[in-house]
């Protein structure tokens, strides 16, 4: 059976740390940086559990600021 793997990138400087992508992810991939902030002072989103990503794009679609790019491969 073909397996699907995904990965995302976050434009950390554009991110406002709103947490909506974190809530939208069905695979618990995303989190807000617990310590690091961007130049505007926001705790930006990142892939905390990259192995879980299925490339469904939910995070990208809900991001109000268009920060997320989603990539997907069939293995």
């Amino acid at each position: 059976m073909a397996k699907i793997k995904g990965a995302i990138t976050v434009n950390a400087e554009r991110c406002k740390g709103c947490n909506l992508c974190v809530v939208a992810c069905p695979s618990d991939v995303l989190a807000l940086q617990p310590q690091k902030v961007n130049q505007k002072g926001y705790n930006y989103a990142y892939m905390a559990n990259p192995d879980n990503c299925i490339g469904c794009a939910s995070c990208g679609i809900v991001c109000p600021d268009g920060c997320i790019e989603v990539y997907k491969v069939k293995l």
Partner: protein
């Protein structure tokens, strides 16, 4: 598999439309306005109308929409967007013309312009962001504010005997002969956003096919005005706003 082997141009499945430019949007973190801007840009790109669109921005938080979606814009005086769009469309019938308005702009100061543009059946689309509050000016009560909802001008909650009832402008506009499509959508989940995209697209197509006025009401959050985190605001919206303003088509002819 290493993420760097996945993150390659040939594997890209989603990114923001380029028509939504790289300017940082002034909206608060998690504001629904950003999601709708992104959708509008995506649809205009997919329709190939980048050079053939005239959009009209309101007074309200979306006043600077012209800084973000790279089409031609007119910024209208408060509430006057449907009147301005009427002129733009009548003078440029081959252009895609739409307004983008908040509930204060559309359902308070601009009620007359909204009702009459819809009653005339102007070939425009009205994108109506109903967040139940005046976001821009600091969270005052709007005609759309829910009964019992707290705002800075009704700190004990909206009382119908004093403030009237939440205004169902979508239902009112659906009664007018000039409207062909009135629908209520939201943008709080990926599934809702996909549905909303189809609705906006249908509105735009209706206007190009001279079918009359389409109104796309998008029940939205103003997490700052509501004094909640963005994710809590989405939950509060589904529990409270959706009960007053149910999702779905009010008219589709």
């Amino acid at each position: 598999m290493d993420v760097n082997e996945i993150i390659k141009p040939e594997n890209l499945v989603y990114r923001k439309p380029t028509l939504l430019n790289d300017n940082t949007m002034h909206y608060c973190p998690g504001c629904s306005h950003g999601v709708v801007h992104k959708l509008v840009a995506e649809i205009i790109e997919e329709m190939g109308m980048m050079e053939n669109t005239i959009a009209v921005s309101p007074v309200g938080c979306a006043v600077f929409a012209y800084n973000y979606v790279d089409v031609d814009w007119i910024q209208a005086a408060h509430g006057r967007a449907p009147a301005v769009a009427t002129a733009a469309k009548r003078l440029n019938p081959h252009k895609l013309v739409f307004t983008y308005q908040g509930d204060g702009d559309l359902a308070a100061i601009g009620t007359a312009e909204t009702v009459h543009a819809c009653n005339r059946g102007e070939n425009i689309t009205i994108i109506f962001i109903n967040n139940g509050i005046y976001g821009m000016t600091g969270g005052q009560m709007a005609p759309t504010t829910l009964e019992g909802m707290v705002t800075v001008t009704c700190p004990y909650g909206r009382k119908p005997e004093l403030n009237g009832y939440p205004l169902h402008i979508g239902e009112l506009l659906a009664k007018l002969k000039g409207t062909c499509y009135v629908t209520r959508q939201s943008v709080h989940t990926a599934a809702a956003i996909r549905k909303c995209k189809k609705a906006i697209m249908q509105g735009f197509e209706n206007s190009m096919n001279k079918k009359g006025t389409s109104v796309i009401e998008i029940v939205s959050t103003c997490n700052t005005g509501w004094k909640m985190s963005p994710d809590k605001a989405n939950v509060w919206m589904t529990e409270n706003m959706f009960a007053e303003y149910p999702m779905g088509d009010l008219k589709n002819e």
